[in-house]
Symmetry: C2
Subunit: 298 residues, 2 copies
């Protein structure tokens, strides 16, 4: 198709990094360590999958980047907050993230908790600012805030992480594992696609299709994550290989085996791409991202 | 004036407790401990000052309770999240809150962190739901979300708590202490009054007056809190007396002495009540609350 995903991801990452940087407050004065901790974790150079999905979904329905960039950044701020809190000693107790010491290792636990709280709240501040700035957009942005709060909240990401923690060192069956994955990772990935579509001007049919795409992508993403924890290269993924196993965490390969897990991931990706059948070439980035998610090595 | 504050506070507390209870999800299934932790801390029987201020400010400008109740509950959820996180071992490390073991003492640190994250996110979910439900209200509720996110966030409560933690065991001067108090406690109290006014239909002049009232009330409230930590009755305030001193926390009485602190609190309350000079008898609850804040013993 001539679509160069590598170049697309590079360009979007740069745009997003620039926007994230300009949203974040400069560290100065008494509160400098708080803002430094936020910047340290946000600017640690992640894949920016969620904000890229916002932009790509908006593009797929004919929307512009400028309208969806604040929401894209809000998604990344919420994703980063969840990583900071997940890494805390009381939770997953991780020392490394993206190849660097985790936030609490550098800034202490108190600043890490507050940096997470701050990023979560800031995500809603950014969106509310957009809603207030452009009156005619108020209703649409309110819907975006609702989708995001649900996906990140107590029936979404937060409950996923809670059940993940609660089931540590316990027998987990397939449906429980699916619950954890769908909520802990899937919900926010799906929300990214829905939010991009909404801001880009998707109609109800398109929104439904994007939702299905987000569902499949989110599930496949987490299965691949589980596989990378077993088969990945520590240098590339930026954290120790085998850390799930060591913590007795339930994973797809532990439950279904490597081959079956890989087959399931492929099936989810196939169904994600099929959901976009009625979309034209503007959905090429979304299709290419789906293929990338299953082939990625970090 | 014949206004019975005690009865008013009792009635409002009951209304608010009922609304909080109905908003909170029932604990069931795998995720029960998360929802139990949220309920445990929310339903611990606080003063409900912030939600009462939302309702009273709305009433002062002729608004109804039903319109402002969701926002009132959002304020209490955010207040509760901040208490749960502040009590964590990495932060203030408190074992008692409102006379009961703190959230992490009962449910463990991981659930306490997640219960806090969940309540914070849930507050925005509730407000966004209101914005989406009634289209004509979308713009106003967006403003409410913005006020709340700012007051609770990285230029509000979160930065106040961060500086409070960072200055522990350090010399704090008067302006630094004012910064901590204004941000850590004052911002959310002020926001409560502004949000109630906005939802009740206040005009620009009224909003300005309510803002000034909220400023004075917030500062006085925190000074009285500091005084209670020295002079209060442990049985009544529900936590050990002298805990600020023990942690080497900067407080008004430590910096200015008890008499001067009390005089300052009275001055702030006087200026708060003066700000409402042009309001009619519908502002009587707000005036009475201001007088109560300075006389309270818990």
């Amino acid at each position: 198709m001539g679509f160069d995903l590598k170049e697309y991801l590079e360009n979007k990452r740069k745009e997003i990094d620039k926007a994230l940087d300009s949203f974040l407050p400069e560290p100065e004065g008494l509160s400098a360590p708080l803002f430094e901790a936020m910047r340290y974790s946000v600017m640690a150079g992640g894949k920016r999958l969620r904000p890229i999905l916002v932009l790509a979904a908006s593009h797929a329905v004919g929307g512009s980047s400028s309208v969806s960039m604040p929401a894209a950044c809000a998604l990344e701020f919420i994703h980063t907050y969840s990583l900071i809190h997940d890494d805390l000693p009381a939770m997953d107790d991780d020392d490394l993230r993206r190849g660097r010491p985790t936030c609490h290792k550098v800034f202490g636990e108190a600043m890490a908790i507050l940096a997470g709280d701050g990023l979560l709240t800031f995500a809603f501040e950014i969106l509310a600012r957009e809603a207030v700035k452009e009156r005619e957009n108020s209703e649409k942005v309110s819907q975006v805030i609702l989708i995001l709060a649900r996906a990140a909240g107590i029936k979404g990401m937060v409950v996923g992480q809670a059940v993940d923690v609660l089931m540590e060192n316990k027998e987990v069956n397939g449906s429980q594992l699916a619950f954890i994955h769908q909520h802990k990772t899937g919900a926010l990935i799906k929300a990214s696609v829905e939010i991009g579509g909404l801001l880009g001007g998707a109609d109800q049919n398109q929104l439904g299709a994007l939702s299905s795409y987000g569902d499949g992508l989110g599930l496949a993403f987490q299965i691949v994550d589980d596989l990378l924890d077993i088969e990945g290269d520590q240098e590339v993924i930026g954290k120790p290989v085998g850390s799930d196993l060591e913590k007795n965490k339930a994973t797809y390969p532990a439950l279904f085996g490597i081959e079956e897990s890989r087959a399931q991931a492929h099936e989810y990706i196939h169904s994600a791409i099929s959901a976009l059948a009625s979309f034209d070439e503007k959905a090429e980035p979304l299709r290419a991202i789906a293929n990338y998610v299953i082939q990625r090595n970090r």
